[in-house]
Amino acid sequence: MLSNELLILSILTLAMIGILGIILVYLMIRKAMDIKISKRIDHCKEKYNPLISLILTEGGLSRELTAKTALQRKAIEELLSRYTKVLEREEEKKRLSKLAALYLTDDYQKRLKSMRWSTRMNTLYQIEDFGMDHLLNDVYMLLKRRRLSHQELIHILRILALFHFGPLFELLTNHYNHLSEYEYRNILLRLEQRQFDQFVLNFHKSELPLQKAIVDVISIKKELSYLSFLENIFSNYSGEVKLRALKALAVIGYVKNIEPYLELLYSSKWEERMISAKLIGKLKEEKGVPRLIELLHDQSWWVRFQAGQSICQFLNGKEILRLVLESSKDSFAKDMAWEWLHKGE
C-alpha cells in the first residue's frame, strides 16, 4: 500500500522545511552582520582618510591612526588600496609601503599561511600592490607549501621578480621550466636589467616558451641595447623564434644592415613576408618599395594588407597606391590599394 510511502514522503517534507529554515536564518543573519560591519568600516575609513592622506603627502606618522582591531586594519587596508591607484610620485609610493609595513605585516604573514586559497591569493596581490618587499622571504617560503595552486605559483614568481630576488634565475631555469610563454613574459617584465641579462645570456639553452618570452619582453620594452642580440637570433634561428625576433626589430624600427631583410621579402613563408614588409615600412627603406608593390599582389590577404600599410608609411605612398589602382590588372591588389587610399577619410 501507499501508506508506507506516505510516511517517508512526510518525513522528507519535514526535513526539507528544516533545511529551508536553516538556510533562510543563516542568510538573514549574514546579511545583517555584513551590513553592520561594512558600516563600521566605512565610519572608520572616514576618520582615517584625512590622516593617511596627510602622511602620504607630507610624511611622518600619526598617533591617532591606531590599528588595534581587525576592523581598523581592514579600513586602513582599503584606504591604502585606493591610494595605490592614484599615487604617482616615488616618495609617496615609498611612504605607502612604509605604512603598509607598519600596520599590515603581522596580518599578512598570518594570511599567507591561511588554509583558504582566496585569502592567500588576495594577500599576494596586496603585497605586490603595496610593494612590501620586506615580506620577500615569507612569499618565498610559500613556494615550499604542499599543494600549491598554479595561479599562486605564478604570482609568487612574479613578486620575487619584482622584489629582485637573487636566485630567481635558478628557480626559473631549473625548477619551474615548464611554464607557458605568457607566464614567463609576465614574470620577466618585472625584472630589472641586470637580472634580465642573465636570461639573455642563457637564451640558447632555454626552452622555446622562455625564448619567445625573452624576445617579446625586449620588444615590449623597446630596448635598443639588445639590438645586436635580436639580429643575432634572427640570423641563427628559424621558425617561430626567428619570426618573433623579426617582429621585435619591426617594433624597434632599426637594423644595422638591411640586406637580409630585403631578401626575406621573397621568403616562401607568408608570415615572414608579412613581418619583413612591416619592418621595411617602419624603416622607410626605399630599396624595398618595388618588392612591396609586388607583395600587394601576394596570395595571402595578410601580406597584401601589410604591404599596403607599409607603402602608406612612405612620403609618396599614396601616389604609389594610386598608380597601382590605375595600372594593375589584379583585382585583389586593386582592392587593397583602394582600401589603404581611403583609410581614415
Partner: protein, 470 residues
C-alpha cells in the same frame, strides 16, 4: 476488475514520476555541490585586484564587439554609449544594422557623426551583402555596417567578416555591460594561453535597477512578481547550472546576450547558422563537436561574475513567446547534432551533457506537465490519492525552493549584490510560491513550443522593448 487495473496504471504512473523526480534532483544536487566547492574556494577573492593586471595592453588581446541591431532606434545610442566606456585596452565596436525599417541607421549616423569609409571585407563566412560602411568621426574605433536584412545570425556573420581582431564578442542591443566585463571574460582566455576558445559570463536582470548613461547605478529588486521569479530562475541557472557544467567542460550554452569567442575557431566551425532560432547554443555545440572531431583539448568556460545586465519581459504575452522560442531553439540545437547523443566518440559531451539536456531540459517540461495533470487527477480519485497528491505537491514546492535558496546562498557567498535583508526575505517568499503558479506556466509554455513545432508553425515574436536603458 477494471478498477484494480486502473489502480495499477495510476500507481505505475506515480512511480514513474517519482523516479524522474529523483533523477532530476540527483542531477541538480551533483551540480549544486560542484558549484558550492568552486564558489567556496573563491570566497571573498578580491576580483578587482585580479583584473587590474589585464588592463595593461601588453597582456590583453584586442576584441571586436559586434552589436547586431534590427529596429533598435529606442536603445541603440545608449547601448553604444555604454560600450564606449568599457574598461579595456584595445577594442572596436561594430554595429551591424540588419536592414532596419526604422531610424536606427540615421540615429547612429547623427549621434556619433558616422562618415562613410571604404574597406575591403574578407568573406570568411557566408552572409548577405554589405551596402555601406561607416566610421565615427568622434570615436575611431566605432564602426557601423549597413546590410540587407537577414536575421540576427546573419548580422553576426557580417560582423565576423568585418572584424579585424582575433577575438570577438556578441552582444544584444538591449544589454548593459559592466565596466570590467571584457576583462572578466577574457581572463580565462589569456590565462590559459589560448586553450580556452570561448567564454561567457553570467547575465543578470536589469529590470528594477537604476541605469544611467549606460551604467548600472543602483541594484534593486523589481516589484513585479514575474520579474522576481525570473531573477530567481537566472540565479539558479547561472550560479548553479553553468558553474557546475563549466567545471567539467560540459557547457553547451553561452548566453547570446554576452560571450567572447576566438574568431578563428568560430570561422573554422562555419560561423552562425541562420536557419535556427537558437543560433547561440547551436554554435557552441558545433564548436564542441569540432573540437572532439579534431581531437583538440580546448575548452569553453563560464565566468561567474555578472558581466551583463539585460531586460527581461514584464508581461505574460512576451514571456510566453520568449519561452516557446527558447524551447524550440534548444530542440533545434539538440536535433541538428543528435548524432552526438550517447556517442562515446564525443566523450562527456555525448555521454553526459547531451543526455542531461535531452532528459532534464527538453523532455522535463512534458513530464512535469503530466505530473501536474496527475496531481489534479489524484484529487478526483479520492482516498489515499488525495494525500499522495498533496504530499507530492508540497514536496515539489519545497525541493524547488531549496534549490532556489541554495542559489541565493551561492550569490551571497560570491557577489552579494542585493543590498537589503528584506530582499532576501522577498526572494525566499517568492521562491516558495514558484510551484503554484510560475513553474506550471513556464512548463505549459515550453510544451506549447513543442506543440507549435510539431504543427510546423514557424512564427515567433520579437521582444517588445520597454527601454529600461533610458
Amino acid at each position: 476488475m477494471l478498477i484494480i487495473q486502473w489502480d495499477d496504471i495510476v500507481t505505475t504512473f506515480a512511480w514513474g514520476i517519482a523516479v524522474y523526480m529523483v533523477i532530476v534532483i540527483f542531477f541538480y544536487s551533483v551540480i549544486l555541490v560542484i558549484s558550492m566547492f568552486q564558489l567556496r574556494k573563491e570566497y571573498k577573492l578580491d576580483r578587482v585586484l585580479a583584473y587590474e593586471d589585464y588592463l595593461d595592453e601588453i597582456y590583453t588581446k584586442p576584441i571586436s564587439i559586434i552589436v547586431p541591431a534590427y529596429n533598435e532606434e529606442a536603445g541603440i545610442v545608449h547601448s553604444v554609449r555604454s560600450l564606449l566606456s568599457v574598461n579595456y585596452p584595445t577594442y572596436e565596436i561594430i554595429v551591424v544594422n540588419d536592414g532596419s525599417t526604422d531610424h536606427t541607421l540615421k540615429k547612429m549616423i547623427d549621434h556619433y557623426d558616422m562618415k562613410e569609409i571604404k574597406r575591403v571585407v574578407r568573406k570568411q563566412v557566408n552572409s548577405k551583402p554589405i551596402s555601406k560602411i561607416y566610421q565615427s568621426a568622434i570615436f575611431a574605433h566605432l564602426f557601423l555596417v549597413d546590410k540587407v536584412n537577414g536575421g540576427k545570425a546573419d548580422a553576426l556573420n557580417v560582423g565576423l567578416n568585418f572584424s579585424q581582431y582575433p577575438y570577438f564578442c556578441s552582444l544584444d542591443g538591449d544589454s548593459v555591460l559592466e565596466q570590467d566585463a571584457l576583462l572578466k571574460v577574457m581572463k580565462p582566455i589569456i590565462d590559459s594561453n589560448g586553450d580556452v576558445i570561448a567564454s561567457g559570463g553570467s547575465v543578470r536582470i536589469a529590470n528594477g535597477c537604476q541605469i544611467q548613461n549606460g551604467q548600472i547605478q543602483n541594484i534593486g529588486l523589481s516589484d513585479k512578481p514575474l520579474v522576481v521569479m525570473q531573477i530567481i530562475e537566472y540565479l539558479r541557472a547561472f550560479l548553479m547550472g553553468r558553474i557546475g557544467l563549466s567545471r567539467h567542460n560540459l557547457l553547451l550554452i553561452i548566453s547570446g546576450a554576452f560571450g567572447v569567442f576566438s574568431k578563428s575557431w568560430v570561422i573554422e566551425a562555419g560561423g552562425y547558422r541562420t536557419d535556427t532560432v537558437g543560433e547561440d547554443m547551436e554554435l557552441v555545440v558545433r564548436m564542441h563537436r569540432l573540437l572532439k572531431e579534431k581531437g583538440q583539448r580546448k575548452k569553453i568556460v563560464y565566468v561567474q561574475d555578472p558581466v551583463c545586465w539585460t531586460e527581461v519581459p514584464e508581461d505574460i504575452t512576451t514571456l510566453r513567446r520568449q519561452r516557446r522560442r527558447w524551447h524550440r531553439g534548444l530542440f533545434e540545437s539538440l536535433w541538428i547534432h543528435r548524432k552526438i547523443t550517447l556517442n562515446p566518440k564525443y566523450g562527456s559531451i555525448g555521454l553526459l551533457a547531451f543526455p542531461y539536456f535531452w532528459i532534464v531540459e527538453f523532455f522535463g517540461p512534458m513530464i512535469e506537465l503530466s505530473g501536474y495533470i496527475f496531481m489534479i487527477l489524484g484529487l478526483f480519485l479520492g482516498g489515499i490519492y488525495i494525500e499522495f497528491a498533496i504530499l507530492l505537491f508540497f514536496l515539489s514546492c519545497l525541493y524547488g525552493s531549496i534549490f532556489s535558496m541554495a542559489a541565493v546562498l551561492l550569490e551571497e557567498w560570491s557577489l552579494t549584490k542585493y543590498p537589503k535583508v528584506s530582499d532576501i526575505i522577498k526572494l525566499f517568499l517568492y521562491s516558495l510560491t514558484e510551484t503554484i503558479w510560475y513553474r506550471p506556466l513556464t512548463v505549459f509554455w515550453r510544451c506549447e513550443g513543442v506543440w507549435q513545432m510539431l504543427r510546423g508553425d514557424k512564427s515567433w515574436g520579437e521582444m517588445k522593448r520597454k527601454g529600461v536603458l533610458e
